[in-house]
Symmetry: C2
Subunit: 340 residues, 2 copies
Amino acid sequence: MKQKPVTIYDIAKEAKVSTATVSRVIANNYPVSEKTKKMVLDLIKKYDYQPNAVARSLTKKESKMIGFILPDITNPFFAQVFIEAEKYALTKGYTLILGNSMNSNEIESKYLRDLSERQVEGIIFMGGRINKSQPDHMEINELKDVMNKIPVIMVNGKIDGINCSSVHTNEAKGIDLVIEHLVSHDHKKIGLIGGVKGVTTTDIKVNAYWRSLTKHGLLMKENWQIYSGYDVDSGRKAVETFIHVNESDLPTALIGINDLVIIGALKACRQNHLHPFSFVGFDNTDLTKNATPEITSVSHPYKDLGEKAIDLIIHTKTMKPEEIWLDPYLAIRESTNRPH
Amino acid sequence: MKQKPVTIYDIAKEAKVSTATVSRVIANNYPVSEKTKKMVLDLIKKYDYQPNAVARSLTKKESKMIGFILPDITNPFFAQVFIEAEKYALTKGYTLILGNSMNSNEIESKYLRDLSERQVEGIIFMGGRINKSQPDHMEINELKDVMNKIPVIMVNGKIDGINCSSVHTNEAKGIDLVIEHLVSHDHKKIGLIGGVKGVTTTDIKVNAYWRSLTKHGLLMKENWQIYSGYDVDSGRKAVETFIHVNESDLPTALIGINDLVIIGALKACRQNHLHPFSFVGFDNTDLTKNATPEITSVSHPYKDLGEKAIDLIIHTKTMKPEEIWLDPYLAIRESTNRPH
DNA sequence: CTGTTAGCGCCTTCAG
DNA sequence: CTGAAGGCGCTAACAG
């Protein structure tokens, strides 16, 4: 089964030319006579010769690989960004290596190291340590070590003390869009649920929420903003505390820190026969389209996010750190209506 | 920012030993005096030296990378398997390279080629060409070419004319489980929707469906099995044709070829005020847990699927092709009840 | 247009 | 226990 691989040398020998010539016809970046070119090409086909990318990487000192570290590809939000990045990278001749950290710091570190040893030309980082407002020293230092060797860029994240390029969804603007939308549907009492205080993206959204309420002169009740986490169950729990705490004075619309949370909230409301709510998610994952009712959600500019991330890696060698901000948009669906 | 990388040679020089010695302390597989070992280790730390995995791959002729080609990582079914494989691979010292084919034949071919050039030690293949009952010659030949060089293994797929190792979910058994479950809840009229005739997994499920109905002596109506595709919309469409074709004589339970289809069906039923149905999905993705009601679904043995796939790659060098069949189980949820 | 010659960074005999 | 030397497969000057 495993045949010994044919090398550029084998081809050269049989073609009675030098390896340099073979290399040239493969790279096709240098004049070679039509005749020898054809001959070499024929042999390449005959033996199904494939250049050894590892050897090439070693000589050229470029691996044409880019690392991508994220917490969990099973999460459609990350998967969306990743796949856009991959599609784009492919057109540029790059291959991505995905590292799922599973929210484990050690695995994150392991991949950081592994990818760098594998000579990836850059690492795209999403989630994990780059979203903590208080990352520890070790974590920062590891990143810095890697950044001494290859460019690291962050998607929707930022760490104090690390100065690298990044692409961001303007999530604050996303919240603005939601609230404008709700206000235009006559909602005056709007709640925000989910997330964890101290996680960058949560903080951004929460701040934007309060700012936007103020701007629209809406009622602000501290109890209408509830931290609870990021999964479906967090959404359910949030609704329950909600009912407890706010009793009769409930908002007419609920914004989830992400889609999972709002789905949990929707389920909980249904179980408790609470219908006056409008629901808005964040991330615009498939979940929102598949839910009943279909849920309005803020969408990241996935394509741009992925493509810019790749561009930053490819070009960062020659550029100084750059921060790119991209606007989200609102995917409006059935879950937002006028309050009764 | 980009400092010139420190090599094994730099370390050797400063330690006044040979590169061989440094190599030995790194590999830690050969006697080296404690003193020089410590010295080298200190220097490695001092310069944050990391061995160049590309160079190592070249000399050792092993890349410690495994390729994984699948249609779309955004699909939680594939993502599940991939992530289990990745976790396991990591413990074995391997890194996975993911290739999303986006259901494009060309991309599939491109990755097949790219991964093989990158010297991955094997390729795990899911979906795409390995699920067609009539793959074309080109597709098969490409696979064969690759298989001459490195092991290829298939997950839940098989092609005539290709003889390689594979891991499978026993999907027929999954259908059996569903029907038993439904029968035990007094269902006698059971439908199956979704899928495409000629796609291996669909064919398996459809065959199992008829066989199981026979076995239980249930009513078999040709119109109760409807091909329609794999996405949410296919589910919706299936229900609509259903209503058209079967008019008053509707089954009391519906099985979806996968979770997406059953979710579409659920939505359509709700819109048409059709409530007597019980619903069962296939794949046990998060979708089923997040739906309302939560949907009963057949679960693949994800962990085993992923781990066996890796094992097959790692060990296949010394073994002859092997076919592993794993049993699914039924995740029972709210969507299956007794018929009225 | 083509061949020769050095490496790329590391590992692995083979001698000490 | 340690060093010297060769080579993995390919590319990039440098000569012709």
